[in-house]
Symmetry: C2
Subunit: 155 residues, 2 copies
DNA sequence: TTTTTTGCAAAACCTTTGCAGTTGG
DNA sequence: CCAACTGCAAAGGTTTTGCAAAAAA
C-alpha cells in the first residue's frame, strides 16, 4: 500500500534539491543514489527497478538489491513514489514531476494518464459519500474505456 | 489481510449451477474443482489461493499449482473473480455473491467494503468526465479515511 | 479409451535480507 | 574513523510451467 511517511514529503525542483533533501536527513549521497536521482530527473516516465538498473548502465553494475533499498529510502524521504498499473513489477517515479493518476482499460489494457485536477470531482464524490480523501496514485481507476464500451455493447 | 464483515449471503448457494456452467464448457468436474466450488459457496469471504488450499483440507492434499490452474479456469468461466487490496497474495471470490468494492485507508490500512450502489455516483462522475465505466472490483479506492484525515490534520 | 486434469518438482518473477567488505562524510 | 552503504548470494512470497501419472467422461 502507500508508504507510511515518517517525515513530510519533499518537493525538490531538481537534483540538487533532492540531494539536499537526502543530506538533510543524515543520509549519504552514494554513487548509486546519485545515479538513481539523475535517472529519475532525466525523465518523467515511471520506471521499474529493473528499468532503472538498465539506465544506470550495466557497466556500473549497481545491484538490484541496492536499487530496491534506495527506492525504499527515497520513498521514505518523499522524493520517489511507487504505484501499480496491473500485475507485474511496481513502477517508480519522482514525486515532484506532478501527481500521476491513471485510468486503465480492463479490456484493451490501455493506460491513460489524467490531470489530477480532472479527478477532483470524483474525489469530491468519494469524500461526500464516504469521508475518504481518495487518491488514485497507488492503484489506477480500472474500467472499460469508451471504445471498448461501445465495442462490447454499450454499458 | 484485514477483513471487514461480509454481506449476508442473500442467494442460495448455487453450486449446481456452477457445476452446470463448468460442464457446459466441456470442462470436467474434478475433485479439486468440486471442493473449490464448495469452499467458495460456503463463504462470502474472499480467499487467497493458500487459504483455499487450507479449506480443502490438508488431508486431501490438493496442490497449490492445481488450485491456481483452477482459479484461472473458474475465472475464465466467470464463476470466480480475483482482486487485490494491497501488496501480497491476490484474493478470490465467487462472482455471484454480489459485487465487492472496497475502500482502503492508506494510513491505517483499514479495509471497508461498500455497497456497489454507493459507488454509482462516483462511477457516474468518471463516466461523464472520461467516458470510462469504472469498476473498483480489481483494485480498491485508496485514500485517507475520515479518522486518519482528522488525525493527520484535516486534508 | 481419450482427453483433461493432477501432483510434483522446478522455475519464474519480483522483492527482501544477511553478511562481510567498501565508502562517504 | 565509523556509521552508512554496497555487492553478492541466498531466500522469501506468489504464481507459473513441464511432464508423466491419474482420473473424468
Amino acid at each position: 500500500m502507500t508508504q507510511t511517511q515518517t517525515s513530510p514529503a519533499v518537493e525538490a525542483p531538481d537534483v540538487a534539491a533532492a540531494v539536499a533533501a537526502i543530506r538533510s536527513r543524515g543520509l549519504r549521497l552514494s554513487t548509486s543514489r546519485r545515479l538513481m536521482l539523475e535517472a529519475f530527473y532525466a525523465t518523467d516516465d515511471p520506471l521499474t527497478a529493473e528499468a532503472l538498473a538498465v539506465r544506470l548502465g550495466a557497466a556500473e553494475g549497481i545491484d538490484l538489491a541496492s536499487i530496491y533499498r534506495n527506492l525504499e529510502t527515497l520513498e521514505e524521504v518523499g522524493l520517489v513514489r511507487h504505484f501499480h498499473l496491473g500485475h507485474g513489477a511496481g513502477l517508480y517515479a519522482r514525486t515532484n514531476g506532478g501527481v500521476r493518476e491513471y485510468l486503465v482499460c480492463e479490456s484493451c489494457k490501455t493506460v491513460r494518464q489524467v490531470d489530477p485536477a480532472e479527478l477532483d470531482a470524483v474525489r469530491e464524490e468519494v469524500r461526500t459519500r464516504f469521508g475518504y480523501r481518495a487518491s488514485f496514485t497507488h492503484f489506477p481507476i480500472v474500467g472499460l474505456c469508451p471504445r471498448c464500451r461501445t465495442r462490447h455493447g454499450a454499458k
